[in-house]
Amino acid sequence: MSDKKNIIICRCNEVTQEEIEALIDQGVTDIEMIKRLLRIGMGPCQGRTCLPMVISILARKTGKKPDEIKLPATRIPVRPVPAGVLVGEMESDGNEE
């Protein structure tokens, strides 16, 4: 059996499979709360990597179908942008105007 301690599900915030399963075992089965307590999907990748995996873990452990589990809200911007670009003082490549 694989070592769940070493399986990283959320690479942005370094959350392991073991941590996710432990939280579900404690009765936290709402993906919105799992997201916020473990900060999955809240890093720079905005959940692109981890959320599908969290959904499959959640589905397996709760007996739900994966498509019954709604994805948490997607937040803008879709990819990280320097604040200087958003205030118009910087080019998107990071060079100052």
Partner: protein, 391 residues
């Protein structure tokens, strides 16, 4: 779902879960909490995490002094769950001599009630927030005992403890009606069935007028206007740089504060948007430009930091920015704790305790000025002095 309960709380944010916990702690065995979505989904999970006693009126200062000293400092231990409360302070910054005078008046009032706020120089402010654009400011009002906690953990901790003590919490369970006969509550209707009860607490914040209407009151009985309050958050930066909430009120009530958990910088500004509906939490691009304009003036180096996320929630605002807390006289055993105008999270432990004690004992040891927060003040045309609101 349970078919009867002694008390039904409507609203599963920091206030509702706190009331549920405190009722259970007082020995009420039969409490039900109803939340239309998931716990915290209304305003709590969208807040900026700040907790302060730096208000400008006696009632809010006294309540918040109590909350910080007697409740927040011990909450993790009490709930047996780390809510990440940290006393990292609030730093307000003045840009004019008039503001310094106002700060001095506020400090005097806060000191009178034991809040150790003091006036500091821009140099001292820069020691507290090293990347601060200190040249832009003339002085600061600094209370090192203000702080922040994790809203997600707080709601989870209250709910977890409440459940352990027997409270039934039903999420994704919208309330559809309240049964009132001859001025007495008989039950609460939900999409999943009816719960017979004689006591109801309206803790629905922005949605509270809808619940009041279900109990036969006017929607304007507590005139709460929901305003979209938005936040932008950056990628994590090294801890210790912007730990206190740092706010020059004259700069459109803008503020920055480092998230206590991941170190990202939370940025807010006072750009109020009327939502198109009570589900409208769509962030807007004009907010992002506005908030970052101010944030990069407060902390110029933020220009080089990536923004990773933006979101919106509601300030459930009353005409005087003070909440409505207490008993509603028109319906027997109907209580309200709503309209927090952006202060609900920081007030939740003490307010939950006070409401629970009011219901069970008819009075509370919490220094909460019931007269000040009286839900009937609006229909009498009485407004309190506006609670100091930022962002």
């Amino acid at each position: 779902m349970k078919s009867k309960a002694e008390v039904v709380i409507i609203g599963g944010g920091s206030t509702g879960t706190s009331i549920a916990y405190h009722l259970a702690k007082l020995g009420v065995e039969d409490v039900v909490l109803l939340e239309k979505n998931y716990l915290g989904s209304g305003s709590t999970f969208r807040c900026a995490s700040g907790i302060r006693a730096q208000f400008t009126d006696e009632a809010n200062i006294k309540l918040q002094r109590y909350n910080i000293e007697k409740r927040w400092k011990h909450l993790s231990e009490e709930l047996e769950y780390d809510v990440h409360f940290k006393q990292t302070g609030y730093l307000f910054l003045a840009t004019t001599e008039e503001e310094i005078e106002a700060f001095k008046q506020n400090i005097k009032l806060q000191n009178k009630f034991g809040v150790p706020t003091r006036l500091i120089t821009p140099e001292e402010a820069k020691e507290i927030v090293p990347p601060l654009n200190a040249e832009a400011f003339l002085a600061g009002a600094w209370n090192p005992e203000d702080g922040k906690a994790c809203p997600f953990r707080v709601v989870h901790a209250f709910a977890r403890k409440a459940r352990e003590m027997g409270v039934e919490i039903y999420e994704h369970t919208p309330v559809t009606g309240i049964i009132v006969e001859n001025g007495e509550i008989k039950g609460v209707k939900t999409e999943k069935g009816v719960i017979k009860t004689g006591i109801v607490v309206n803790a629905a914040n922005a949605w509270a007028p809808i619940i009041n209407e279900m109990a036969g009151l006017s929607r304007d009985f507590v005139p709460i206007k929901p305003y979209k309050h938005q936040i932008a958050k950056t990628e994590p930066i090294a801890p210790g740089q912007i730990e206190p909430l740092t706010c020059p009120p004259a700069w459109n009530d803008s503020y920055v504060i480092q998230d206590g958990e991941d170190g990202g910088v939370i940025c807010g500004t006072g750009l109020e948007k009327e939502p198109t509906s009570l589900d409208d939490v769509q962030p807007t691009y004009d907010f992002l430009r506005e908030v970052l304009k101010w944030a990069t003036r407060i902390i110029p180096a933020l220009k080089y930091v990536h923004v990773v996320r933006q979101w919106a929630g509601f300030y459930a605002k009353t005409p005087d920015s003070n909440p409505a807390i207490g008993r509603i006289q028109y319906v027997d055993e109907l209580y309200i704790a709503a309209g927090f105008s952006g202060h609900g999270f920081m007030m939740a432990p003490g307010v939950g305790e006070a409401i629970a004690e009011l219901i069970i004992k008819g009075k509370s040891k919490v220094p909460l000025d019931w007269e000040w927060y009286d839900p009937h003040r609006f229909e009498r045309g009485e407004l309190r002095s506006a609670a100091f609101q930022i962002g």
